[in-house]
């Protein structure tokens, strides 16, 4: 195997595994787990090697079929995309342990369909972070979206309806993106991102450039559920099969945020995006609103999973706002938060999966006394909650640190206030659940009998990735410094 092709294999192996699962999985279920885990383990392994190589030697460029860019399709692995590859591979691997179990319970007999889509989704995500071509990005965005539609529609109850709403919204988003790309193509005659970045500033067409940016950004915002455009997300994510939620929730919105970073940094130059101060200011205001509204809406939910989906909306506000602060700290914070939020969301959704596996529901009422029934799961939940609140040394604190610092640097006090208020609301949200789980159903009186509920911990297949994720939360938090210095700093554009 040629070493230069390694990052392509990170993508190809899960794809082949998807085909094999579709073909062999329908004969016998036994093929599924080894294929899923084996290929993803390979991806983790490969992406870590690539990460090391990129950090050491700098950006890798790869032309598919040896057609030179700007004509050929180019894959670019710069530090940021290498980081995202590792993130996707690790999250996917951890999530798939849990998914294998919960899909076995929820969708018996349809596992091979589920995991074919699941693997193709992962391949699409890998593709998204690798590609250096604007149109390719559209195609891969749609591949991930289509597989997500399918995965969500496999859920129970209203899932199909939610999926349909998602399809409509997602398609509008993709069309907007495509339209923006169309304008860029008319302007520059190229679709290669680096080429676009080279040509765009030399053109003197501010209106057309701005239109193109607006279309592209609005498209991406719908896909990532940025606040006023978020309505599709809570239903879709909370009604998806549990196994799908553990993969989709941590990765989809985060990768879309990555795409926005990519579009702003690599395809446009920041100078072109942030030409008008009032636009950036407006977006930061919108992000602040997103944070507050997402958090407040989460307060009103009676189901843990729905609550988490609203928190995702708030977190998207964090990241978008951080980017549009248009300074180095804000951008660092956003990129860091992509990583951190993926792991935090993964942790919490794994907890949801474990609880649903055991008791079928995560409505707040059903969580009474859960600490006694599932102590390890809830310990991990507590850590995840601390990360969401932003308690050091969990990773959530450090990205929030950079984001607030960026807000102070940029004079965006509304963003700072929004971040702090949302931390406080998160504290309320999560301690409400911790309290429910810890106190259980309260009898009156002082010295009541403490009924010992039977301990019914989730199986090890679900528990071990969960515990690992909880540990990762702290490890990532403590390695923030190296992460920022060796990876993220390299991505901050000059003069930012």
């Amino acid at each position: 195997m040629n070493a230069t092709n390694l990052h392509l294999f990170v993508l190809v192996v899960p794809l082949l595994a998807a085909l094999a699962i579709n073909l062999l999985g329908r004969r016998s279920r036994q093929w599924i787990a080894p294929l899923v885990l084996g290929s993803l383990a390979f991806s983790v392994f490969g992406s870590v090697i690539i990460m090391a190589r990129v950090v050491e030697y700098g950006t890798l460029r790869y032309t598919v079929g040896n057609w030179q860019p700007p004509y050929g399709i180019e894959l670019v692995v710069d530090p940021l995309s290498a980081l995202m590859m590792v993130l996707i591979a690790v999250v996917a691997l951890l999530a798939s342990f849990s998914s294998l179990k919960s899909v076995e319970q929820e969708l018996p007999g349809r596992e091979h369909f589920f995991f074919t889509l699941y693997m193709i989704l992962i391949v699409g995500l890998f593709g998204l972070v690798l590609t250096g071509d604007a149109f390719n990005l559209y195609v891969l965005l749609e591949i991930t979206s289509i597989t997500t539609y399918g995965l969500i529609a496999m859920g129970k109850g209203r899932a199909a309806l939610s999926s349909f709403n998602y399809i409509i919204m997602g398609s509008i988003a993709a069309c907007f993106y495509l339209l923006g790309i169309g304008y860029i193509y008319i302007l520059t005659g190229t679709l290669n991102m680096a080429d676009i970045a080279r040509i765009l500033p030399t053109l003197n067409a501010p209106v057309a450039t701005a239109t193109a940016i607006a279309f592209v950004l609005v498209g991406l915002w719908i896909k990532m559920a940025f606040f006023p455009l978020h309505s599709w997300l809570p239903n879709a994510y909370s009604q998806a099969p549990t196994g799908a939620g553990t993969l989709i929730a941590p990765l989809m919105t985060k990768v879309t945020v990555y795409l926005m970073v990519r579009v702003i940094i690599t395809m446009y130059t920041p100078a072109l995006v942030f030409t008008h101060e009032w636009i950036a200011r407006g977006v930061v205001w919108a992000a602040s609103l997103a944070i507050i509204c997402g958090s407040v809406l989460a307060l009103g939910q009676k189901d843990l999973r729905r609550m988490l989906t609203y928190i995702i909306i708030a977190e998207v506000g964090y990241m978008v706002g951080g980017i549009f602060l248009a300074n180095a700290n804000g951008l660092t914070g956003s990129i860091l938060h992509i990583v951190n939020d993926a792991f935090m969301t993964l942790c919490l959704f794994l907890v949801v999966a474990a609880i649903i596996y055991r008791q079928g529901s995560v409505s707040l009422v059903s969580l009474r006394g859960i600490f006694r029934r599932m102590p390890i799961t809830m310990a991990a939940f507590t850590l995840g909650a601390f990360a969401m609140i932003g308690v050091p040394p969990t990773c959530g604190f450090f990205s929030k640190w950079y984001l607030i610092l960026g807000g102070i640097d940029g004079g965006h006090w509304e963003f700072v206030v929004a971040l702090i208020v949302s931390s406080l609301i998160n504290a309320v949200l999560f301690f409400r659940i911790i309290e429910l789980g810890y106190f259980g159903s309260l009898p009156d009186g002082d010295n009541q009998e403490h009924a010992i509920d039977e301990r019914r911990e989730a199986p090890w297949w679900m528990l071990s990735p969960l515990v690992l994720t909880a540990v990762i939360l702290i490890v990532v938090g403590l390695s923030t410094g190296p992460l920022v210095n060796n990876v993220i700093r390299l991505m901050i554009p000059v003069g930012f």
């Binding site: 398609s171 169309g182 193509y185």
Partner: protein
């Protein structure tokens, strides 16, 4: 006035795509029937495909199929053939559109089986109960 008309006529491809897009958009937002929404979505996509294809047009351009030996013997003036790249891109976009439509139809079938109707109002009514 004439200037405006001139502008409209000169960029008629834009106007067509904008009009189509608005029709699709209206169907997606305004119609209560889920299949109509889906059709609206298809119109929406089609408008963008048409827009893209129209960008490849050149005045007096021929089809971009070139005889190999002729091309090798003498350089071909790119101005005489239309730009094939948008067409190729749109081929992919069409495939994407077909896939989305396929998934959407499958989802609609599930919805129909579950609620016995594809009218959004009626579905929501059933969900209320």
């Amino acid at each position: 006035m004439e200037a405006i008309i001139g502008e409209v006529v000169a960029k008629y491809n834009y106007w067509i795509y904008v009009v189509l897009m608005m029709i699709g958009f209206y169907a997606m937002i305004g119609k209560r029937n889920l299949v109509k929404k889906l059709i609206g979505m298809n119109i929406f996509q089609t408008s963008i495909i048409l827009f893209f294809v129209s960008t490849g047009v050149k005045k007096g351009g021929g089809i971009p199929i070139v005889d190999k030996y002729k091309a090798l013997a003498s350089n071909i003036d790119a101005a005489t053939i239309v730009n094939p790249l948008p067409h190729v891109l749109m081929l992919t976009a069409i495939v994407v559109g077909v896939s989305v439509t396929g998934v959407a139809l499958a989802v609609l079938q599930r919805i129909y089986r579950e609620y016995g109707t594809l009218e959004e109002d009626e579905i929501l009514e059933k969900l209320q109960r």
